[in-house]
């Protein structure tokens, strides 16, 4: 290995040398840090890999489930970001490197790595020496060879994540439910997440050949949450998605986000969503949300956050009640815009209701009940592409 590295080293005897703008470095280190886990069993994965090529600098972080690669090009929008003096690579312990970069005093940072992997980071009058690790030891990222690339608008992808991932399960009792189930068919992407107590479903159009079909693509909820944080509002508006049997890749201009897929068959949920309606009410989302929020003040978490709802057809209103024998009682009447079908009495978790209402992004919603012991649906008034489902609570 010593021979190999010295042959890579340039005339200066350095393995790598570059000058980079601190803010660009800090931003991208922050991105790849999202994949680095302090509790990894593979020691080298506590590090971030830096790889300098004549085109720019690539940073990589990974916990073997999620890997993130961020690229800093020589210049972006006509602004120079980095200068590569000597191409090469190194792995630096992520925790220290990230903190150092954040606190450097000057706009510019010089990084050079000697043949013993000692890395000097200089900015203004500050100079750090970090012991690096051989980049050859860093695992290779999965090679994604997908037949089709699925492009999706970045803001739409962020919305899909926000509207579904909250409903994934956090319990390992049924591991496949800790992921969101994606399927592509007829040019439409369907995303479903459920922890078996509530379910969120969102359908969006994607720009692919209608013949392209994927199913049972189960992406860990954790991965999607991290992805949602990284997708910024800069640069190109599109994200390319490539799917293989066990990996998914999200690719923007300068970021590649890899995630392992969950094994196992995601349960069939379509058949469990009620089609008929016994009662349907139309409500102002904000008014309803605020009333539920107030009622939840007395709903105890350890007892399912129960709130009760009663509908009154003639009076066009619903009553929301929550009580705790130890604490007290709350009662509120909320007007409904419309009430059709039988009057309904049902109990549900205020938390699940608030989770759904804060993400539905609609001014008015229709809530469809089929019985006090059956799932009920919350949908925007004229949009069938989003559906929130909640299982009621049985009270005696």
């Amino acid at each position: 290995m010593a021979l190999a590295t010295s042959s890579i080293a340039g005339e200066s005897g350095l393995l790598m040398k570059l000058t980079v703008y601190r803010d660009a470095l800090a931003e991208n280190v922050n991105h790849v840090m999202k994949a680095v886990s302090p509790r990894t069993t593979i020691p080298i994965l506590t590090g971030i890999k830096l790889e300098a090529t004549p085109e720019g600098l690539t940073l990589t972080g990974s916990d073997s489930d999620v890997s993130i690669q961020a690229f800093i090009p020589l210049e972006e929008d006509g602004v120079q970001k980095i200068e590569i003096h000597q191409p090469g690579s190194i792995v630096l312990i992520a925790r220290y490197f990230a903190d150092i970069v954040k606190k450097l005093p000057n706009d510019q940072v010089d990084i050079e790595v000697d043949s013993r992997f000692v890395t000097r980071i200089r900015s203004g009058q500050a100079e750090f020496s970090l012991n690096g690790l051989d980049a050859e030891e860093y695992p290779r990222l999965p090679v994604i060879r997908a037949d089709n690339v699925v492009p999706i608008r970045k803001d739409l992808l962020k919305q899909v994540i926000r509207q579904t991932v909250y409903a994934v399960s956090t319990s390992e009792t049924r591991p496949v439910l800790t992921g969101a189930n994606w399927a592509i068919k007829n040019g439409r992407l369907t995303c479903v997440a459920t922890d078996s107590h509530r379910l969120a479903k969102r359908v969006v159009a994607v720009d692919v050949d209608p013949a392209v079909e994927y199913k049972n693509v189960v992406i860990p909820g954790k991965s999607l949450n991290e992805l949602g944080k990284i997708l910024d509002d800069n640069g190109n508006d599109w994200v390319d998605i490539a799917i293989t049997s066990n990996q998914i890749l999200f690719k923007t201009d300068n970021i590649q986000f890899f995630s392992r897929l969950l094994e196992g068959n995601y349960p069939e949920t379509d058949g469990l969503i009620p089609r008929d309606a016994k009662t349907e009410i139309i409500l102002n989302t904000k008014e309803f949300l605020q009333a539920i929020d107030r009622a939840s003040l007395l709903a105890r978490e350890e007892r399912n956050n129960v709130v009760k709802l009663k509908t009154f057809e003639a009076e066009k209103r619903v009553e929301i009640i929550s009580q705790s024998p130890e604490i007290g009682r709350v009662y509120e009447s909320v007007p409904v815009i419309d009430h059709s079908g039988e009057e309904m009495r049902i109990s549900f978790s205020s938390k699940y209701m608030m989770d759904a209402l804060t993400r539905i992004d609609a001014e008015e919603i229709k809530v469809t009940f089929t019985g006090a012991m059956k799932p009920f649906l919350i949908r925007p008034l004229d949009d069938d592409n989003i559906l929130m489902l909640i299982l009621p609570i049985r009270t005696n």
Binding site: H197, L272, E302, M373, K374, L391, R394
Partner: protein, 435 residues
């Protein structure tokens, strides 16, 4: 909370004392209450003071107790009797004040602060103790202190028939010299950990650095440190009983078992019995725990708190099997048990329905709707969903040819002869105690 006066009333060898009430001929003789005497799981649960004098103590196998005290009278427990005595005991205490907190079948706290304005606490304690002895023929020890912890420690200081006052100012002289293992709340494991850092007495703990104890034992350690210093702000809570009450069901196995499959079958059997007892109490549980006793008598417990109420045999067995799979270390097992805690009235319990199973629950909907209609019409709850009362026991009794259906949900003795050595160890299986 200044100047509270708290009593801790602790019955002396309660089961043995109750037995002696019903068998006057046993008074003054060595008596032990033990599980099924003829089988190997016979373990002494309680011994009378006469038996204790001969070296008999709980938990000791019956054969060993007999070796130490050949004239020992051994009686299998009759929990119905003890529960009845316990009811009488607490209703007697409540004639003084409603501020009585039942801790277990044979001990409780009483907040005597108000009472003490009229009667001297010592006179009051003497009166209580005398009435328990005269009216129920049961001996007790009473601790009097400014808080629950000190009261509990005080009642332990003089037995039987003691009354001990432990004032805050007595703490250095009376409490601090006691070995750490004698402190209420310090179990064998905690004592071991404390001893390892040089804490041998309660005084050592009181003087120790609180942060160090917290680092060693967490929040629990901070609490122990407070108590060692004589501080304990917990009120006497007459409602506390329901929360801390636990029901457990366990069985010593006729032969040690070594497979998960066998354990699963045992848990399923235990879960059926436990579920019946929960239903009889019209309760659901929010905590479950399993006990594993290994062939070498090492015993471990592992618990879990759940959000959805537990009551059905399936729910109880599932959680027990899961806990077992997580915690069994593979060694041969002698005893298995399931216990539930955090009980709540089933009528108040709620269940978050599940997308994949709601159809089962939905089948009950027409019934619930009918009940709701009746309630709407007549106001107060007029009907409740029925519970199957001790069905398994009922079938069993029929199979056994018992003449008196419906039977008590606790099976008759004859059950043991017929069922494949069902082998419930009564002392464990009927244990209703606080956590």
């Amino acid at each position: 909370m200044n100047g509270r006066i708290i009593f801790h009333i602790d019955m002396n060898s309660f089961y043995a004392s109750v037995e002696a009430v019903h068998h006057p001929e046993w008074r003054g003789k060595p008596l032990a209450i033990a599980g099924k005497v003829e089988e190997r799981r016979g373990i002494v649960v309680t011994a009378s003071y006469e038996a204790r004098a001969k070296g008999v103590k709980a938990p000791m196998p019956v054969w060993e107790a007999r070796r130490r005290c050949p004239e020992l009278i051994v009686k299998t427990p009759d929990f119905e009797l003890y529960r009845e005595a316990s009811r009488q005991l607490f209703s007697l205490l409540k004639t003084y004040t409603p501020l009585v907190e039942k801790v277990s079948i044979d001990e409780g706290y009483m907040d005597a602060t108000e009472l003490a304005r009229r009667v001297h606490p010592l006179r009051l304690a003497e009166d209580i103790q005398k009435r328990l002895l005269d009216e129920l023929e049961l001996p007790s020890s009473i601790g009097i202190a400014p808080n629950k912890f000190l009261a509990k420690m005080a009642s332990d200081m003089k037995k039987p028939l003691g009354i001990t006052v432990l004032r805050k100012r007595d703490v250095p002289k009376k409490l601090w010299p006691l070995p750490i293992a004698d402190m209420h709340g310090v179990g064998a494991k905690t004592a071991e950990k404390l001893t390892a850092i040089g804490i041998r007495t309660i005084g050592d703990l009181a003087a120790a650095d609180k942060a160090q104890i917290a680092a060693l034992l967490g929040q629990y350690g901070e609490m122990l440190h407070e108590r060692a210093n004589g501080r304990d702000a917990r009120p006497v809570d007459p409602e506390a009983e329901a929360v801390f009450k636990s029901i457990s069901q366990s069985t010593t196995l006729p032969e040690d078992i070594v497979s998960e499959e066998e354990a699963r079958r045992v848990f399923q059997r235990l879960a059926v019995r436990l579920s019946e007892r929960l239903k009889k109490k019209r309760s659901v549980a929010y905590q479950a725990a399993i006990t594993i006793r290994y062939a070498n008598w090492q015993t471990t417990s592992h618990g879990k708190t759940v959000h959805q109420p537990l009551q059905s045999p399936q729910e109880l067995a599932a959680i027990a099997v899961r806990l077992f799979a997580e915690h069994w270390d593979g060694r041969p097992i002698r005893l298995l048990g399931i216990s539930v805690q955090s009980l709540e009235d089933a009528a108040r319990a709620t269940k978050q329905l599940d997308l994949f199973t709601y159809q089962t629950d939905a089948k009950e909907e027409p019934l619930l709707e009918a009940i709701q209609r009746l309630e709407a019409k007549y106001g107060a709850p007029v009907v409740q969903k029925g519970v199957a009362r001790g069905q398994a026991a009922f079938k069993k009794a029929q199979a056994d040819g018992a003449r008196t259906p419906p039977p008590s949900p606790r099976p008759k003795q004859s059950r043991h002869e017929h069922s494949e050595s069902e082998a419930e160890e009564r002392p464990d299986s009927e244990n209703e105690s606080h956590a």
